[in-house]
Symmetry: C2
Subunit: 360 residues, 2 copies
């Protein structure tokens, strides 16, 4: 066995604890995706998941990669567990349902203490936590039946080197992201996404049993969205806030130039290609996820701002220091309010991909 590599991926995790800026309190949009995916995950388990019928008491092993601290992960896992219980009963494996072990996995810096104290007391599975980057191996060979990964794969393992290199044509001056940047920046981000996705798929292909399933949910951007002239993505707005603060002398311009958010939202086609090229998985489903208007519409600028903050505070803190964060997000909320026709309405233009893969 190759020794487990020291985690070379940078560690990004959501805000811990349960305070007003925590991920726990600011993840209602992700909750919408959990609900939207529920039925499709049940269907996939019913139709595609391979469970050996020879040994009904065998344990079923499930992992949530990028689980953060709950409650979304518990709701998603409960849905998966119940679907598998239903399937094993309908297969006539008798009244005895299998035992389940569920691995909640996230970066080492995730607040696992909080996760453990929030576990549903009446759960019908054995809970475990696994720390580390999912761009490396996390589990033994062929040890999992079902892998779930929601709103995590948009996080790259690191910022592409070139965009931080002043001497590179991909140097990303005056922006914090590839959106609206020159082609070289977009290319560098895309190349990093492909590389990371290949690592992810390779690791998972070793860990998932043959016939096992993987459900992925990740943000995407469609051509239609980009064609809306007045649309500005959140990271674009956040970048302009930082530039504004640098003009006021609150942060240095060089600090902003050297800050880039390692997030990439692939198109449906980009994702499909990297999955097909690696060849480990068959694509059982790949489509836009429809998120209930209940979750999609409605967040006011402040709520939306806190949602973005819960995801980004860690890396902003690391780069700029804690002291700028409150001011930055006040400014951000103010700017987002100018775009309320996009962010605070049923026309909210972000879209998400829902993918079901089966290990060949």
């Amino acid at each position: 066995m190759e020794k487990e590599k020291k985690n070379s991926a940078k560690s990004f995790s959501m805000n811990g604890g349960d305070g007003p800026n925590s991920y726990l309190k600011n993840s209602s949009y992700q909750r919408g995706a959990v609900d939207g995916a529920k039925g499709m995950i049940r269907e996939a388990i019913e139709e595609k998941l391979h469970i050996s019928s020879s040994s009904p008491s065998d344990t079923i092993y499930i992992a949530d990669l990028g689980c953060s601290v709950g409650q979304n992960t518990f709701i998603a896992i409960q849905n998966i567990v119940e679907a598998i219980e239903r399937k094993s009963q309908s297969q006539g494996l008798g009244p005895q349902t299998p035992e389940f072990q569920v691995f909640f996995s996230d970066q080492v810096s995730n607040d696992f203490n909080k996760l453990f104290t929030s576990l549903p007391p009446q759960r019908q599975y054995f809970a475990a936590a696994v720390p580390g980057s999912f761009y490396n191996r996390l589990f033994p060979k062929q040890s999992l039946h079902f892998i779930y990964c929601s709103y995590s794969l948009q996080w790259l393992s690191k910022v592409p080197k070139e965009v931080e290199d002043m001497n590179s044509p991909a140097w990303n001056k005056g922006r914090i992201h590839y959106v609206e940047a020159q082609k070289e920046v977009v290319d560098a981000y895309f190349a990093q996404f492909v590389k990371d996705m290949e690592s992810f798929l390779s690791a998972r292909s070793q860990e998932l049993l043959s016939g096992g399933l993987m459900a992925l949910i990740l943000p995407t951007y469609t051509k239609e969205m980009l064609s809306i002239k007045s649309f500005r993505r959140p990271l674009d707005i956040l970048g302009s806030c930082l530039m504004e603060m640098s003009k006021k002398g609150i942060v240095s311009e060089a600090k902003v130039d050297s800050f880039n958010v390692p997030v990439y939202s692939p198109s449906s086609k980009e994702l499909e290609e990297v999955i097909k090229n690696t060849g480990y998985f068959s694509i059982e489903r790949l489509e836009l996820l429809s998120i209930s208007k209940k979750y999609k519409a409605g967040p006011d600028a402040k709520t939306f701002s806190m949602h973005i903050r819960a995801g980004l505070e860690g890396i902003i803190d690391e780069h700029f220091g804690r002291e700028i964060i409150d001011e930055l997000f006040v400014l951000f909320a103010r700017k987002v309010a100018e775009y309320s026709h996009i962010y605070n309405s049923e026309n909210r233009v972000n879209e998400d991909l829902f993918v079901i893969l089966c290990r060949k």
Copy 2:
């Protein structure tokens, strides 16, 4: 499958973090036991552990129950992993060593965040954490090859009810432990120990594979120790400190009367009987552990006091509140110093049991 019961056992865990009062900084005696047990664990794995030779790439699953936050657990696990690697090589299973998954388990309140950030970066195993009381089931059926449990089984799941009941003959007035107490108190503690040990052995018998091994280390008291007239056990001394503080009006006498430490150190014979009566395991080894004088002798009263504090601070805090703790342990260190001929010398009289059990 019976639903996993809500953890009914009270949660006691060692001091987290890495401050001066943390378990991390105050567990050198336990380290001595790790070293003392090393060779015997290697021997047991070499001679007794059953590994299927038919599938050399199969994963080996190991659990440390009551792992606390390290480094002791990492050292113990490393020894077990290396011994199994050596065994699988000597069995001629080829150069390919198995993969390992190691479960670090402790109470929900354990500082798992600290544990995860302390993991050895170059480890040759996949690490996971499992929260919960080991008096309940923690793992799926037949999912482990080796269980290690060091300095944890002396913690009962709870204080026996009777000793806290003013109307019971077992009411433990003026003491915090069964030592030197009336027979009814000793009996109540012993009955709780037997009940808990039965729960522990039953749960482990379901989780351990047939032919799998379990290594236990726990404190014991021998007749010889008890015959030393001048000997006073640490909990006896701590109890007298609390009584002294109650006389000074710092804590109420009723508070002291209602405080009992749920710890029981069985004799070798008591432990042997409960293992035999439950019948799940064969006893491969049960003997006193010899702890190197390097670890045994030497701790001055202050160090010894901090060692006891790291283990008990949690329950003292819960019962009396944080504000008495510093004063209590200053007093405790002063009293321990009076017994330096016992605690600060090679004559230190505590003894530990080392046990190897094999799942029938």
